[in-house]
């Protein structure tokens, strides 16, 4: 079967100014390739600065790669840094929901903006969809009128999830989205995510530090180190027999 999301030879480097005319290139992603199937979860782990977040941003379209292709359902959506798709099929959830939601707009307005910019729905249809999405992530329809500052951290992450889901994406990229939550709320959110995956066949790209979470949620695992893929394969088999030094150190074997 054809994978849903396919990434081939992704490269990305940042340019930093080292002197007046000298520029330093820092390669943060080197030849990253992987694929994610329908309803599957790919976990990406690695040290701080290994390029995880950059990969997430490139996947979601917040940043552009220098070289390489991203294919969604067989269509090329990014080719050597030129993106030709709208943003609605791959959605990114940021690490800190308190900073990724506009403090000046109500939740309803924010979700309405998403729909207004990407769909042709009428006002009534949009309202219905927003209310439906809010209940789906375990919020109340009354939260429509609320401002982000009135929510707790866990609820905010649900709002962020609602924002990602409202456009019916195929892939959701979670950039450390569960790390800032306390354990019980995290467990709730994880269950919610898995439930949504069962119901709608969503695929997740999960970027995290938590090994137990990786074991619990993901089907495949990709280990990044200094922008390179050091290990890629089935989660359980990697946990059972880690081949790379990085993974062995992470697992303490």
């Amino acid at each position: 079967m054809q994978p849903l999301l396919k990434v081939q030879g992704l490269n990305k480097s940042f340019c930093t100014r080292a002197g007046v005319f000298k520029r330093k290139h820092a390669r943060v992603l080197q030849d990253i390739s992987f694929s994610v199937g329908h309803g599957e979860t790919l976990a990406i782990i690695g040290e701080t600065g290994s390029g995880k977040s950059t990969l997430a941003r490139v996947l979601a379209g917040a940043d552009y790669s220098d070289k390489g292709q991203i294919l969604l359902d067989g269509d090329t959506i990014e080719d050597d840094g030129i993106r030709c798709d709208e943003c609605r099929h791959i959605r990114l959830i940021f690490q800190d929901p308190t900073r990724s939601l506009n403090p000046g707009l109500t939740i309803g307005d924010m979700l309405d903006d998403c729909l207004r910019l990407n769909t042709e729905l009428t006002k009534a249809q949009r309202d219905k969809k927003i209310k439906h999405t809010l209940t789906r992530v375990g919020l109340l329809t009354e939260h429509f009128e609320y401002y982000p500052h009135m929510f707790s951290g866990g609820q905010l992450q649900r709002v962020a999830l609602a924002r990602a889901l409202i456009l019916d994406p195929k892939v959701v990229v979670l950039d450390e989205a569960l790390s800032s939550l306390d354990p019980s709320v995290r467990a709730q959110t994880v269950n919610l995510l898995l439930e949504l995956q069962r119901d709608t066949g969503l695929s997740y790209v999960l970027i995290t530090h938590h090994l137990s979470l990786v074991k619990h949620m993901s089907d495949q695992l990709l280990v990044l180190n200094k922008g390179k893929v050091v290990e890629y394969g089935d989660t359980l088999s990697i946990f059972a027999t880690p081949k790379s030094r990085v993974m062995q150190r992470l697992l303490n074997v």
Binding site: A60, R88, S100, N102, E145, Y147
Partner: protein, 297 residues
């Protein structure tokens, strides 16, 4: 009085109404706001409610002290000057020039500053650094000095003063708005909004401006207090409003020779200037404190 509240008020308030609730608890700032509103109303209605015309001379009442003084006359509550003109009427009309024109100058400055600052904020590379460095040069010159230089080119007069003050205040404005916009554009929710498919214009109007307008109001109040002082100072130096225009600084300069003979003709415009600047600064300071508190929670 109920001992406890039976119905808790829903805290379903917009950021703006939260701002106002916090501002209300700061009493000096609230008093400043009332004085500010009163002065604004006075600036608008002064020509209609002043008891006498500004150049109406009363030959029988020269240099009368204020009416509570034993030599005073109740017809002239704040006394008269050496030409027999009513000080109260002149000061009321002065609000229109000093305070009203300052507000207009500050408003125009803010408007142009926001437009240019936003443009500078969203532009990148050479254009942005050119704009920045040119502005940095003008920032090193004090606004009053810059205004005097501009007056020297345009020639004295009230309208030229307003233009001079607008131009003199503009660099700081553009600079601060630019910093606000750049700071805001780097936040996560802007990139989230961009990922939603928002255009540059939508990012500015829905994302950036609703979150910095309070800061713009603070900048406006600072510009206003500077504008009041500058208009009065230029009037005092005879570079701005020319007598018999009743601009407070010009009244001060006109009556300076009477300071021993009739101190009220000099003291009262000074007191009014003080009140105008103080109320503006109180409002600005109150707003700034509220904004600082909002960042904490």
């Amino acid at each position: 009085m109920a001992k406890f509240s039976l119905f808790s008020e829903e805290s379903n308030r917009s950021p703006l109404s939260r701002l106002w609730r916090k501002f209300k608890s700061n009493h000096p700032a609230l008093v400043g706001l009332w004085v500010f509103v009163a002065l604004t109303l006075l600036a608008i209605t002064a020509p209609f409610i002043a008891p006498y015309g500004i150049n109406q001379q009363h030959g029988d009442a020269l240099l009368l002290p204020p009416s509570w003084h034993e030599l005073g006359d109740v017809r002239f509550i704040l006394g008269t000057d050496d030409l027999g003109r009513d000080v109260l009427s002149r000061l009321m009309n002065g609000a229109t020039f000093t305070f009203g024109l300052s507000i207009i100058a500050a408003l125009v400055t803010t408007l142009i500053g926001v437009i240019l600052g936003t443009f500078a904020g969203i532009s990148k590379g050479f254009r942005s650094s050119l704009l920045n460095h040119v502005l940095d040069i003008t920032l090193s010159i004090p606004s009053l000095l810059l205004a005097i230089i501009i007056i020297a080119v345009l020639g004295p007069g009230l309208l030229n003063t307003v233009w001079a003050i607008i131009f003199a205040l503009l660099p700081q404005h553009v600079h601060s708005v630019r910093n606000l916009v750049v700071e805001e554009l780097n936040k996560d929710y802007i990139s989230a909004f961009r990922l939603d498919g928002a255009s540059k214009w939508q990012i500015l109007t829905r994302g950036v401006l609703p979150n910095i307008y309070e800061h713009i109001v603070v900048i406006f109040t600072m510009a206003l207090s500077t504008a009041i002082l500058d208009i009065a100072a230029l009037g005092f130096l005879k570079l701005g409003a020319q007598p018999p225009t009743t601009e407070w600084g010009a009244i001060l300069a006109e009556n300076l020779s009477l300071i021993y003979l009739a101190p009220w003709t000099v003291g009262l415009p000074g007191v009014l200037l003080f009140i105008a600047v103080l109320s503006t600064n109180l409002v600005g300071d109150g707003l700034r404190q509220v904004l600082k508190g909002r960042k904490v929670d």
